[in-house]
């Protein structure tokens, strides 16, 4: 299964599975086996934004005026989000591009991952603005035990999948001795690992981000850190799209609309999928306790945040055809969050609107005789 950057074998991408078929050769988008990924690309491109578009000038003042326990909540969330997007800005590419077989899915993975790098850049933009030495925040991400614990469970599946794919690509299927350990790799095992990795990514996008989102929006509900909330609103909009992408991958595989072998693999993995969701939800609830260890903030406390984690976990796991993980938790305990997650409330960037001064390379064809007054031959 040696990876080729341009597979010379003529293949029909309409007959390939999403992953582990032939490597993609021609990047063509006029036809798709799974048209949904083309739609997601279009949507993501239409969502393009830059962190610098958002004015954060009043946030620094707000931050300085915050009590210490609220500063802790704000900075801890930023650190955690920085971790998540550091992983997501590279991992879909590193893990899935070598094994993807559909051009539309290949480009979706790249588009998705690119948008995560914009999120990472926006954290730098925010952190630079609120603290004088950004290293104090960034360096703590690999030192803080609460964040390191989460990093381990966020990256575990990615890392194992990437390592085993590398081995398979290099020496093929079989039992291999690696650093004194026996490692078994075969295609079915790789597919199983891939399904679990996608599940873990789905949980990351669908559940893990939302505690931080809730805190950012709760600050803005009090009319503080509003610039930050505007950035987080744009990030939340992207993340909702990304989670739709992983939900589609999982459902297409489990429902037999892609690689037929994935149906039985998905069925075998059901308990592990539930376990991945449960682990993430419980970790997020622990995170809520850590955030509020020194005190709550107005409008939000650890208990209500934990209820929100259970509510959102139920919704996400239901979308994959599973039963609720937290039966009875069906009412949204933070209904005001909806106003922040609505896409049509997102402010239109000047370059998207019809303001000619923002149209790059636009030509003003409106002329009259006076325009030639200072023109000499």
């Amino acid at each position: 299964m040696t990876y080729s950057t341009f597979n010379k074998v003529k293949n029909d991408a309409l007959k390939e599975p999403m992953f582990f078929g032939q490597n993609v050769n021609v990047a063509r988008y006029d036809q798709q086996r799974h048209a949904i990924f083309e739609k997601l690309i279009e949507k993501q491109l239409s969502f393009f934004w830059r962190p610098e578009e958002v004015d954060l000038s009043s946030d620094r003042k707000d931050f300085m005026a915050m009590p210490e326990h609220e500063k802790h909540i704000f900075l801890s969330n930023l650190k955690y989000q920085t971790l998540l997007d550091s992983v997501q800005g590279r991992s879909p590419n590193v893990a899935f591009l070598p094994v993807v077989s559909l051009p539309e899915l290949e480009t979706w993975l790249e588009t998705w991952s690119f948008s995560e790098t914009v999120h990472s850049r926006s954290y730098t933009h925010i952190i630079r603005n609120v603290v004088s030495d950004p290293s104090v925040v960034f360096d703590d991400i690999v030192d803080n035990p609460e964040i390191v614990k989460r990093a381990e469970s966020v990256t575990r599946y990615y890392d194992e999948f990437i390592a085993k794919c590398n081995l398979y690509s290099l020496v093929g299927a079989g039992e291999h001795q690696l650093n004194g350990e026996t490692v078994v790799v075969n295609l079915r095992e790789l597919k199983r690992l891939m399904y679990l990795t996608i599940t873990s990514v789905n949980v990351l996008e669908a559940v893990r981000f939302y505690v931080s989102f809730a805190c950012s929006f709760a600050f803005a509900e009090r009319a503080i850190m509003e610039g930050n909330a505007k950035v987080i609103k744009l990030i939340a909009r992207d993340e909702a799209l990304h989670l739709a992408g992983t939900q589609h991958m999982m459902n297409l595989m489990a429902q037999g609309q892609d690689d037929p072998e994935m149906v039985s693999i998905a069925a075998e993995c059901q308990d592990q999928v539930i376990q991945i969701f449960e682990e993430a939800a419980e970790q997020e609830k622990e995170w809520a306790s850590y955030l509020f260890k020194d005190g709550s903030m107005i409008g939000l406390n650890a208990e209500i945040l934990k209820e929100y984690v259970e509510y959102i976990t139920n919704i996400r796991i239901r979308a994959l055809g599973f039963d609720d993980l937290y039966p009875g938790r069906n009412a949204n305990p933070l209904p005001w969050m909806n106003a922040w997650l609505v896409s049509d409330n997102v402010q239109v960037a000047p370059q998207e609107a019809e303001i000619s001064s923002y149209l790059v390379g636009a030509i003003d064809s409106d002329m009259d005789d006076a325009d030639f007054d200072d023109f000499d031959l």
Binding site: K43, R237, A240, Q247, H248, L341, S343
Partner: protein, 84 residues
């Protein structure tokens, strides 16, 4: 297409009155519905269409079973029954 009857969970009945989407119409008629994005990609307003037809007013980007619709993406096309 306007004034189609919408029956919710076999109990509540209201008239669709040319709102942008079924979700807007439900809210207009005090039928509480989950939602986040209202743009067809978060999937929170997914409901079961048990009877009747709908017209799509925007693209749905989430996985849907044959009997499911996103309330933010469609409007009733004649009388419909939904479950949520």
């Amino acid at each position: 297409m306007s004034h189609s009857t919408v029956t919710v969970n076999k109990t509540t009945v209201f008239d669709y009155d040319a709102e942008f989407s079924l979700l807007d119409s439900m809210e207009e008629n005090q039928v509480p519905a989950n939602y986040n994005c209202r743009g067809g990609y978060c999937g929170l307003c997914k409901i079961k269409l048990t009877q009747g037809q709908v017209t799509w007013v925007q693209d749905s980007l989430v996985s849907l079973d044959a009997d499911e619709v996103l309330a933010c993406c469609c409007v009733p096309d004649g009388p419909i029954s939904i479950e949520m």
